[in-house]
Amino acid sequence: MPFVLGAVFLLSVLPLIRLGWAGFSGLTEGEGAQVLFEPATFAALRNTLLTAAGGTGVSLVLGALFAFAVALTDIRGKLILSFAFMLPMMIPPQVTALAWVEMSGPASPLLKTLGLAPPLGSPQPLYSLSGIALLLGVQHAPLVFLAVKAGLAAIPRDGVEAARLSGASPFRVFRDIVLPLGVPGLVAGAAIAFVSGIGNFGIPAILGIPASIETLPTLIFSRLASFGAATFGEIAMLSTLIALISASGLLLQQRALAGRDYRLILSGASAAFSLGRLRIVAEALLWVILALVLAAPLLALVASSLVPAYGVPLNFETISLKAYGEILFRQSVTLTALGNSLFLASAAAIGLLAITVPAGYLLTRRRGALANFLAILIEIPYALPGIVLAVAFILTFAAPLPLIGLSLYGTIWIILVAYFSSFLAVSLKPVMSAFLQMDPSLEEAARLAGAGFFHRMRDVLLPLVAPAAGASVILVFLIAANELTVSALLWSAGTQTLGVAIFNLDDSGSSDLASALSVLVVILVIALMAALEYFAKYLPEGVLPWRN
């Protein structure tokens, strides 16, 4: 118990207090406060809100469409559809952005190859507010999908059948039963999509910076990157601003989910509208959307990793594996980044178990105000935008640590600690659902037989949580290996991550190398997700997001 409390304090409370304090002193001393009145801040704030709101709209349309189709109709291939639809969320945002840039505009090797490229000087349509909003929408649509699907899964077949038997038309059933039950999920999904859009860094960085469109996260990044430590006060103010917007979005989400209680209807198999002849149309529509938002950009990414120079169409004469050779066998930065990402991801994934297993046990066995408070504290760093978290950790660890005089800033350890903080909630979820599904009588029996706490932990509890712990390790690994926002602010010599390496290669004008590295990362993501899917039958329910 003290261990869990101590860990949560270090990873969540301390950095946030430090950030809040820096923001507050900036406000009272007036040194950083003036940044709030600069036109650049207003523009960034406006851009952030506009793109996040636009993105939320796109996410709502895509996510709700897929959720309704998968949860309520009799279309075929639901598992593979869900799996493919979840992919954009798992692919790093800067890779998504690169892929879409390579797909559209006069620059596209894919369009050039097909002879469809727009004429010289046509603007790249994605380098705009609506381009950013569109991609934010695609990136975060799975969040809406998950939230809505969870709500719809609770609609029982009996309720719908009863309504149909008493003569209700499908439209009335939809309006009077499905929609009211779906609304909390829609509101919650919209709130998460909005908050994620506010905090996204990869997409506005790749699409916005070339067009001089700043959002709050990219503004913070470029201030810190170009002016350094002198701007700590201003950066703390801007981070606090983002944190406030995110917090209000999260409150909205909580209210939506804590709303009315729908457990009135008897449980049973979940509802399925039979679409009849329309089924094939619906299936085609869903697959075409997936092809447009997922397959086409990824194909473009592959194409641009195979061309020898900018502006050259791809064909059998020009095709070249030079970019892959360069990043795999010549560039030391790729291997350094790969090594760092693998080390950070595995250390975070495995190390977090030491906190989440006892924390999960505590939170399920001991309910009450303290446990609730703890759960909220664990949730906060995950919900906050990465850039806010990174700034909080810079402020906390910029100076050498007291007592031991060791400096974390500029080493790989500050990134690791920030990852621990950011992914604690991700790691906890599977472990907690395993504890929740466990029959307490098992432990009771062991206790009555005289087994002490550690004995019970070792012989009864741990073997039962092991599959969930395995899933937790892979999930954290997957997300941490692709991370960009936190590491973009915290990296230094020799501590580049894969996300930073891709961003930096693109920035230095080597987008062929950036594309090649991105292709490899996407392959890694799909392989890890497939591994999770393969082990799905051993895992507790609700652990894999693309399954029910």
Binding site: S226, S492, G494, G509
Partner: protein, 326 residues
């Protein structure tokens, strides 16, 4: 719990060992593009098999911000710096951050190309000129062409907030009569954009997103040799130039290897390597790479270095004011 704990310990030890290992190496902060940085490091390691180089690449201003933050945190990581311009080096020297080292190779160089105390040495000449896409309707020959109606909305340039070469370029043109900040205002009114580094400009023009750009010479000339549809022009009014100086930090943990690195860059072998990558060498008597006009025909515009050091902040503000936040 046991296998778990030992796994964590193993991971931590592996991490500690790898950070400890950096201390043996030479750490280079550079603003060269990744491929060139790797080639430079490969060449040096081949000449000095005992030394392993760990390197970081970012635009000059970003590298400097990182370095200054590290210095402030009391833990500068870099041993040696290879960045775009002497103005930034001069500022570091004045702050007392650079080690004075008299390289034996310096004798083969024009005295104007290095600091008299040996704080930094120019390694090559990088000029900024005009790049255009070969399918562009107008062939640009001078800076003023970029402000013409034919180039409306079709011009892009690197931002001084990212690139050291771009800052010197802007300061150079701003100091030339007939151009000046008015020229930049005219460009902005003509719809020109300024963001990111030289790499972004190259990409935008080569791929046809933009038709014209200001960019460093070697990127454009090299990409043309690879088959990209671009041309590079040394404008009639003249070009700006930076000299990519190298300097050793006073706090270098591996000063010996750092000195060897400086000597290598200045040596004939190091200069030929630069030529192979497509750069104009700084050393006298080394020929220019293919694709360049004769050295004496390149007209380099003068820049007042002392004023550039003093006015950098103000010039950055002026530039950002003209082109918006970036």
């Amino acid at each position: 719990m046991k296998p778990l704990l030992s796994a964590i310990t193993a991971a931590l030890v592996a991490g500690l060992l790898s950070t400890a290992a950096y201390a043996e190496n030479l750490i280079l902060y550079t603003s060269q593009p990744n491929e060139d940085a790797q080639a430079t490091v490969d060449g040096f390691e081949a000449a000095h098999p005992g030394v392993e180089v760990e390197w970081v690449r970012e635009g000059t201003t970003k590298i400097m911000a990182k370095l200054m933050a590290e210095i402030e945190a009391g833990n500068p990581v870099a041993d040696v710096l290879l960045i775009a311009d002497t103005v930034t080096m001069q500022r570091l020297k004045e702050a007392g951050e650079l080690l004075a080292y008299k390289s034996p190779e310096a004798a083969a160089y024009d005295a104007a190309l290095h600091d008299a105390d040996g704080a930094y040495y120019s390694t090559k000449m990088i000029t900024t000129g005009i790049i255009y896409n070969t399918s562009a309707p107008m062939k640009a020959t001078g800076w003023q062409d970029l402000a013409k109606p034919q180039a409306k909305g079709l011009v892009t340039m690197p931002s001084p907030l990212t690139s050291g070469a771009a800052l010197i370029h802007a300061q150079t043109l701003a100091g030339i009569s007939g151009l000046g900040w008015d020229f930049y205002k005219a460009l902005a009114e003509n719809g020109a954009t300024a963001a990111g580094g030289n790499g972004g400009v190259l990409k935008a023009v080569a791929t046809g997103e933009k038709a014209y750009g200001m960019v460093v010479d070697f990127m454009a000339i090299r990409e043309k040799a690879r088959g990209a549809p671009v041309e590079f022009v040394f404008p009639a009014e003249g070009v700006s130039a930076v000299t990519e100086p190298v300097g050793i930090l006073k706090t270098a943990k591996n000063a010996e290897a750092a000195k060897q690195f400086v000597d290598f860059l200045l040596s004939e072998e190091g200069q030929k390597l630069a030529v192979k990558m497509g750069y104009i060498p700084a050393r006298e008597g080394v020929a220019l790479p293919e694709g360049y006009p004769a050295r004496e025909t390149i007209k380099v515009l003068p820049v007042d270095a002392a004023a550039a050091v003093k006015n950098s902040e103000a010039d950055l503000k002026t530039f950002s004011g003209i082109f918006g936040t970036n």
